[in-house]
């Protein structure tokens, strides 16, 4: 089977609120699929239904080849999950947390010990194994949770906002682990996020979710074409008539939407800037024109969201919602 997850009109209602509204997505085996959306979009609700701890109001899904309603226990055996909120025992050590989890999944003895060692080494926490988790940093706890979710060799990994509330450096660290998991363990990963950069950097496919509905789906690049083109801006040094010829040549050669020349700068709109840029240099070289400076900008997924909904996914990095969540987490950590 080609797909790891297929949802069929998956729906969840809380009273009169439809938190997830007829979602139909297909996630290929071995890919990282991102569910991108603002706070309250229904990401966590979707994941909880797929992970069989929340019953859909309507519709169903096939996860790892099993129906979540008919064979929830088969699904549970094949998935690993890192929840949005921390779910680690803070008064136990990293090793004890892993051991308890392993026993819960039926692992034991020497095999379990070796597996714990392998995974704690993978996330760089083996030296910390005998230290109580309350002394770990937020990033270390996240890594421990990721290691824990991998104990039983799941086929599919769910990561619900894996880098929420982490500082930028730690986020990059966690990203590295996620990429490595996909590469080395050939796992299918479904992650949710409301960080555009996270979705862009990590995901093969992204579905944008808002008010419980999927409003767009595709590779990050495909999604960006919804907004329009990459814009390339070039500054050259040569005589004005030569520039005129250069501009005409570019227009003739490239599949561009517009080419403009003003104030000593050429601006052009193209579908895919990285592909076009070498061609531009080649033409310039042949005409003996020196390019002083070349810049290009691509639309972000946030622009896509803005275009589709008229709102931004988030106002700015470190909004008050994040702040409140982090406070909540800190309170938890102090216990």
């Amino acid at each position: 089977m080609e797909f790891a997850i297929i949802t069929k009109d998956l729906t969840k209602k809380f009273g009169s609120l439809t938190a997830v509204d007829r979602i139909n997505i297909k996630i290929r085996k071995g890919e990282i699929f991102g569910l991108l959306g603002p706070n309250g979009a229904g990401k966590t609700t979707t994941i909880h239904m797929l992970a069989t701890i929340l019953k859909p109001s309507y519709g169903t899904a096939i996860v790892a080849g099993h129906d979540i309603l008919k064979e929830p226990n088969k699904v549970r055996e094949k998935i690993g999950i890192v929840f949005q909120d921390m779910t680690i025992d803070r008064h136990l050590t990293g090793y004890e947390n892993m051991w308890i989890h392993g026993r819960l999944y039926g692992l034991r003895g020497h095999e379990l010990h070796e597996r714990i060692k392998e995974l704690l080494e993978f996330v760089g926490l083996w030296e910390w194994k005998d230290i109580e988790v309350r002394k770990y940093s937020g990033g270390m706890i996240r890594r421990l949770e990721i290691a824990r979710s991998l104990l039983h060799h799941p086929e599919i990994l769910f990561l619900d906002e894996p880098t929420l509330g982490l500082d930028p450096q730690t986020r990059v660290h966690v990203w590295d682990y996620i990429m490595q998991i996909r590469k080395e363990k050939n796992m299918t990963i479904l992650l949710t996020t409301h960080y555009m950069d996270e979705a862009e950097k990590l995901c093969d496919h992204v579905a944008i979710i808002d008010h419980g509905k999927i409003i767009a789906e595709g590779t990050p690049n495909e999604l960006k074409t919804i907004v329009g083109n990459d814009v390339i801006c070039i500054k050259v040094r040569c005589s004005p008539d030569k520039i005129q010829i250069f501009v005409e040549k570019l227009e003739a050669t490239l599949d561009s939407t517009f080419v403009r020349f003003a104030m000593g700068r050429i601006t052009l709109g193209v579908k895919n800037a990285p592909q076009v840029i070498p061609v531009i240099f080649e033409i310039a070289r042949r005409m003996n024109i020196r390019i002083l400076r070349l810049e290009y900008s691509r639309p972000t997924l946030d622009d896509v969201f803005l275009k589709l909904t008229g709102r931004r996914i988030r106002e700015e990095f470190g909004s008050w919602v994040d702040f409140i969540r982090r406070e909540k987490m800190n309170r938890f950590m102090r216990r």
Binding site: F14, H48, A51, T52, I53, L54, K55, N73, R76, E77, I79, I81, F83, D85, M86, T87, D89, H91, L92, E96, W99, I100, H101, R103, L104, Y105, G106, L107, R108, E132, F332
Partner: protein
């Protein structure tokens, strides 16, 4: 035999977590010790030689009180163990258990037996300390006492956990526990012999499972009881079985949202 893993995991988790939480560990140890020392010894002083024997089934007050106070620790400790369920609900660990393929029945059983292990162990330590004050205690019967204490603990931990799975907040749970604990504690023959209570209270005392736990503990430790020890044990056994099955069944159905 897959359920064994979940049972051991949760048993280990409860015990380990308890041993780690030093303040709670010390607190639950000290509480019954204070009762024994400051209430028991003080009260014992109120009865002159011979006088207490007449009231307390032929026992000195401390002989009478020690098995009761040990049972009280078991009872309150077991009841409060429901708190960890709410705790887990609030901080998400319950989701971790529910999302695993592990048997939910086994996991909740592991939890209850884990909590029971702790409270029973604590009460045994209390008894050993109490031995210094009550040298007439039958130390050989401690294993029997442990069995009785386990039955009591399992019953009340079952009740606590069942209430906890229905509750949303720790405050709400604590309120209910407080409302239930005090009457059950005072109407169980821990502090005074049950026959001295007025008639209208007698039915409550007889309906209180703790009464039989205290009675049985008193029999094995200092040799005096109201009821036949076999009756005590049979009642506790049946009750604990019923409660544990109810608890397991009820937890099985638990999903979030």
């Amino acid at each position: 035999m897959k359920w064994i893993g979940a049972f051991i995991a949760m048993w280990y988790r409860q015990v380990k977590q308890f041993l780690r939480a030093k303040p709670r560990l010390i607190g639950t140890f000290l509480h019954p010790i204070f009762w024994l020392l400051f209430f028991g010894i003080g009260f014992a002083g109120a009865f002159r030689e011979g006088m207490s024997q007449a009231i307390f089934m032929g026992l000195s007050y401390l002989e009478f009180f020690l098995p009761g106070i040990a049972m009280m620790g078991v009872f309150t400790g077991a009841f409060m163990s429901g708190i960890s369920v709410i705790w887990d609900k609030e901080f998400g660990y319950l989701k971790v258990v529910l999302v695993s393929p592990a048997s939910r029945k086994a996991s909740i059983l592991g939890r209850i037996i884990g909590d029971s292990t702790i409270v029973v162990f604590q009460s045994v330590v209390l008894l050993l300390l109490g031995y210094l004050l009550v040298p007439s205690m039958n130390l050989i019967n401690i294993p029997l006492y442990i069995c009785i204490a386990f039955l009591v603990s399992i019953s009340f931990a079952g009740i606590g956990v069942t209430i906890a799975t229905k509750m949303q907040t720790i405050e709400g749970f604590q309120l209910i526990v407080n409302i239930i604990t005090l009457p059950l504690m005072f109407l169980s023959g821990i502090f005074y012999p049950i026959h001295v209570a007025p008639d209208w209270i007698q039915p409550i005392i007889l309906a209180n499972p703790l009464t039989y736990g205290v009675d049985a503990a008193r029999f094995v430790l200092v040799g005096k009881s109201y009821f036949n020890i076999l009756l005590d044990i049979a009642l506790l056994g049946v009750l604990s079985m019923i409660l544990i099955f109810l608890t397991m069944y009820q937890f099985e159905k638990a999903t979030i949202g």
